[in-house]
Symmetry: C2
Subunit: 313 residues, 2 copies
């Protein structure tokens, strides 16, 4: 009988810390989660990781992979900066986890591990040229070209959310304007939704939002109920998504594009518009790629971190 | 003594056909050129290729590589379309050259072979993450990531000239507007130069252009003579180049960027502006890459086509 090792993946988010053990076929064997101890700081969060690893770890666990939502040095296993979490500056995270667990530990960018998860066990399976994009608070990207994950110098490739696409003075999380993320992210959709609610207080969208500021989720729900205000917002969102996807297509030429993140839950409502807008703008020779929703959903990064660990051995 | 094979590269342009034999160290052993027989059509040009190959070929010539300025099918060795040359639709070019010369023949995109030439024997030597961009009539690109040329699905990756960057109604060769090429190519610079000459008929730039419409070359020459009109044009060109280079950096994260094409001859005049504009806009963690001029110049595609042949064996 072949010995089947297991692998631990860690998804470190701004609010949730999630840890899972997966087998070589990408199945989750066990999983645990905890709210990130933000008040406790770096020491406390590393302690949380240690405790959750102890719970999911098995005798055959071989290695730990961590998806880092920020800058890191893969060679040194060093977290350089996590914008969403205070204090994570020059933290030797891999060494710390290795010392506490005895398990080899590797770091990778959070978008890249999510792409890896979808590529190996999700909606990108078997595709040699593949793009993964999360459309949520921001826009993150990671690319597989010729059956290899595109890392680039210092592992920094894939930041297509911060490519300039427009002259609009749309503020972006990076502090600049005109980025794709600034006009096509969930944050941009929610901003447009709040303005639409102000203009159309009797719309179904306004009713669903109620007293709270309208969200991207409200837009999707209202659109499914036929609200014309919400449908217009999704048409505009589809146009901006298509503009950026054309840029992605010309730069990387993926055969398939997989979309994750909250906004991708409205993909079925936007897909025809996206495809038509891309078709009009793509260069001769280029075709509209397959466009699919994430199959692993919120688990893409968790599973992908473990896949990265497995493939780093 | 080790037998050293030689390799033939063909650079098929809209006006010039160039053929060279190189050795394994990238040295040109022999080279020939002829004006493309546009009137004679496809048959005539294939005959020209055959004749020039016969002149540069050596007993040890192993394989022929052709850089295609258009769409092609590498597996079938089929040219699908060359926008700059009429009649090149579904032409089995590789088979034709093989039948006429007895030499195995491979096709690759012209920007990709130029990048390959610079990567192996030019300004990109030894760089694992490397971007090559030609800034001339249009903007072409090709990328090496993790020591591999980025081809993408159907070999179509790298068309960063046709990524949308602005809302300006700047007409692009692709028939759309707002592409990087539409605002930063040599064509865009020449268009701006002609408008500047109309506004400033007493400028040094106007004097250099004389009766003819001003060109990008005129701008560079006038700028070197201190003409303020030309210097302003180059500052604007630098700003658009920087905007696109930031997009390239965020998407591919090259360690070095090599610029070829006519506009790159003014790189020394623009480099400080480009670097400063990139520095202001790059994400934390990203640094301004090395930016260098092409070392092989006009021969990048010719040498690179032979390198592609060599590496395809």
């Amino acid at each position: 009988m072949v010995r089947e090792d297991s692998f631990i993946g860690i998804d470190l988010g701004g609010t949730q810390l999630r840890v899972a053990a997966i087998d070589a076929a990408g199945r989750i064997l066990d999983r645990r989660a905890a709210p990130v101890d933000r008040a406790g700081g770096v020491r406390a969060v590393i302690g949380q990781m240690e405790a959750l690893i102890a719970k999911v770890r098995r005798p055959d666990t071989a290695v730990v992979g961590i998806g880092v939502p920020g800058a890191f040095d893969p060679g040194q296993g060093l977290v350089l900066d996590i914008p969403a979490l205070a204090g994570w500056t020059a933290i030797p995270l891999a060494t710390e986890i290795e010392a506490r667990t005895g398990l080899p530990t590797v770091l990778e960018n959070d978008a890249k591990v999510a792409a890896l998860g979808e590529w190996r066990f999700g909606a990108g399976r078997g595709i040699a040229d593949f793009a993964y994009l999360t459309i949520s608070t921001g826009i993150g990207g990671a690319f597989v070209v010729g059956d290899r994950l595109v890392r680039g110098f210092r592992g920094l490739a894939g930041e297509v959310g911060h490519t300039r696409i427009t002259d609009r003075s749309a503020p972006c999380s990076c502090g600049h304007e005109g980025c794709w993320e600034a006009v096509a992210s969930g944050t941009a959709l929610a901003r447009a939704a709040r303005m639409a609610v102000d203009r159309q207080p009797r719309s179904r969208l306004a009713a669903l939002a109620g007293e709270a500021p309208a969200t991207g989720e409200d837009v999707t729900r209202a659109a499914r109920e036929g609200c014309p205000v919400a449908l217009t917002l999704l048409r505009e969102e589809a146009a901006w998504l298509a503009a950026g996807l054309v840029n992605v297509q010309h730069a990387f030429s993926p055969e398939r594009v997989v979309l994750g993140g909250g906004v991708s839950q409205a993909l079925d409502l936007m897909l025809a518009d996206i495809r038509e807008a891309m078709r009009r703008r793509l260069l001769p020779g280029h075709e509209v790629p397959d466009i699919a929703s994430s199959k692993l959903g919120d688990d893409a990064g968790l599973i992908g971190a473990a896949v990265h660990a497995k493939e780093s051995r």
